[in-house]
Symmetry: C2
Subunit: 434 residues, 2 copies
Amino acid sequence: MNREIVIINAKLFAPDTPEGFVADGFVEIGAGRITALGSMAHYVPPPSVEIIDAGGSLVMPGLVNGHNHAAMTLFRGMADDLPLMSWLEQHIFPAEARFVTPEMVYWCTRLAAAEMIMSGTTTVADAYFYEDEAARAFVETGMRAVAAHGIIDFPAPGVPDPAENVATVARFIERWQGTDLLTPAVFAHSPYTCSSRTLVRAKELARAHNVPFFIHLAETGAESGLLAGKWQGSPTAYLHSLDLLDEQTVCVHAVWLDKPDIELIAASGAAVVTCPQSNMKLAAGIAPVAELLAAGVRVGLGTDGCASNNDLDLFGEMDTCAKLHKVRALDPAAVKARDVLRMATGHGARLLGFADGVGLAVGLPADVILIDLDQPHLTPFYSVDNLVYAAGGADVRSVIINGRLVMSDRKILTFDVAEAMEMVAGMTAKVRKS
Amino acid sequence: MNREIVIINAKLFAPDTPEGFVADGFVEIGAGRITALGSMAHYVPPPSVEIIDAGGSLVMPGLVNGHNHAAMTLFRGMADDLPLMSWLEQHIFPAEARFVTPEMVYWCTRLAAAEMIMSGTTTVADAYFYEDEAARAFVETGMRAVAAHGIIDFPAPGVPDPAENVATVARFIERWQGTDLLTPAVFAHSPYTCSSRTLVRAKELARAHNVPFFIHLAETGAESGLLAGKWQGSPTAYLHSLDLLDEQTVCVHAVWLDKPDIELIAASGAAVVTCPQSNMKLAAGIAPVAELLAAGVRVGLGTDGCASNNDLDLFGEMDTCAKLHKVRALDPAAVKARDVLRMATGHGARLLGFADGVGLAVGLPADVILIDLDQPHLTPFYSVDNLVYAAGGADVRSVIINGRLVMSDRKILTFDVAEAMEMVAGMTAKVRKS
């Protein structure tokens, strides 16, 4: 009988009902999982538990950020409103070459974790270099994380010799596999920055260790051109030709897909993570999310890194995602609020390899958040669709991850947020002068 | 020497500098206006003033919401993800016929004002019926408002006989003209819901009283078809043919414009208010904002009503606006953060008829807000572009309107917000059952 935390007087998220919630409920949590839930009528909490009185707040599954480069908080807003190539080549790449150190990755990841927890994200899939430092930071903050170490055929932070890129990640996986709440994984940067041999070896490594394989795919319309000389056709067909697409592959962005590409992805069982705000800000394009969902592809939602968003708030991302696909299709029912809620919760968790997903059900991991509905901008609250169209990260009151209270009434309990902000602020002075 | 409020230790918004702000400043406010501002170096506040220590927060001009139907907070999220005509004809119109009363407009407008103030909006252009009640609510809350009374050729709330529609608004204007902080105005619903005679009379009324004239224009692609029988051509050309376009006309939405339409608007001096989130959610389309700005048209930003957004947060609206036009043009420089900041502040205020605009300069109206930058999602803060790409309404700490402290540390001082929430919540039970 592990009843460590009980939440009472809560609205319970129930996305398959018309309103999407039921009123006056409780949730019991023990040993990291949901052990009971139901109506407050006749409910008497057991003794010796921590009782959280939600006071009418909504309990919902924690949000799942399917793609981030957490360390890039250092570059939040460093270079906005610039053409993609000048942004990347004149600002981001030089800044990464100068400022990315193990210490930078560690502190900037802690800062990103603070921002994510405070906006209701309980699980993140991260992708960067010096990923040991990111993994260490995530474990310390109490977040659930997939930490994917980068592979690229250029000298990279911590991997000066590209010939060592796959071996470096093999050792990374071996160090971290089996860690509570932390899944190590492989992040092959893109079809155009890795050779076909590197891509194949990276996927073999992921298969050998049974871990997720992430790759930036078809982010911009120029990507086919960048493959000239090694492939005639779409980037998606190229990945397929190398046998990279399977159920443990996550294609990030997937903006420039034609119908055969969507069919290839659907048939392979590969997943897609869409990052609409980043794709909009960099003017990359609009991913065919409605078509991917219709084809049965598992689609998750990501913020991408702070350099191209510039925040990590999945509530804003859900709002943009639902609205963007409506106006793209000129159809207000194209992608619905409930669709993006599922992308950002259960569906998003499962495609990252968490077979249970997240959700309010007995036996599922206790990754839950409380939303304060008692505010002008959430009044009235006819349905949970307002979580997408009216709520923001700042409405998250408390966060429980794996049964542990990580944030209570907006205060993070697991680490020192002010310290992380101070450490990162100290690094920005140099960036500002650069 | 009216130095009623002094803000010290603040970053001062300065959008024409590279960073968009200067550090360590003060602002003196007296008799409703900014009387002095500058560097904290050697600054000694005068005696007998209220001192607000910003502690590094940013002081910026209050935001200007160029289009709202405040009373529609009652319908926030009542009917989402539906095709436009079923949304309007099966949900919104019947709900308006049943639930719009003077009391409803009064309390729902107060609720909307609370949401707007709490997200940094100091000026709003509202457009609805029973607009006396909206005007009364705005005056009581301390917001600066343009209250535009609706004109439509159907029976409407408070105007059962359409033959009385223009006369009703004439009396409304006469009652309110000259009121502090409140500008009465005319809102002709649209080219397809008003006859040409009504449109001409409505504009004559606005001209006679020297007040702004608002009209929904070219919101959907179907609008040209709706004019069949009375006009062959674009809705914009139709308004021009009726001599409705001049410097005191505000065209709301203006989504479906061709090049000649943009030239007509530019030549006439008429302004446009764009509502990107509403246009996305209803799948109306994407307004040609970059082209309008390039043609020299004055463009402001609006949220539209809560039934189609579903919130009134101009920070989210700025973010969406800048990103949407980048991805529409596949050009990350198409509409920049600084462009939308100007649309949502000085430019937006001037096109509503406030000749001074808003801004941080001596002699301008003291409509200013404090933004709490000391938070993970605003760290680092290289420039004010992060107000667009990373900040949200919940980051607004305090609000001053016309020199009066309206919100202090997230607490509204001018009226009872809980009462407004309770009154509106009481009305929702009936809507929910309908």
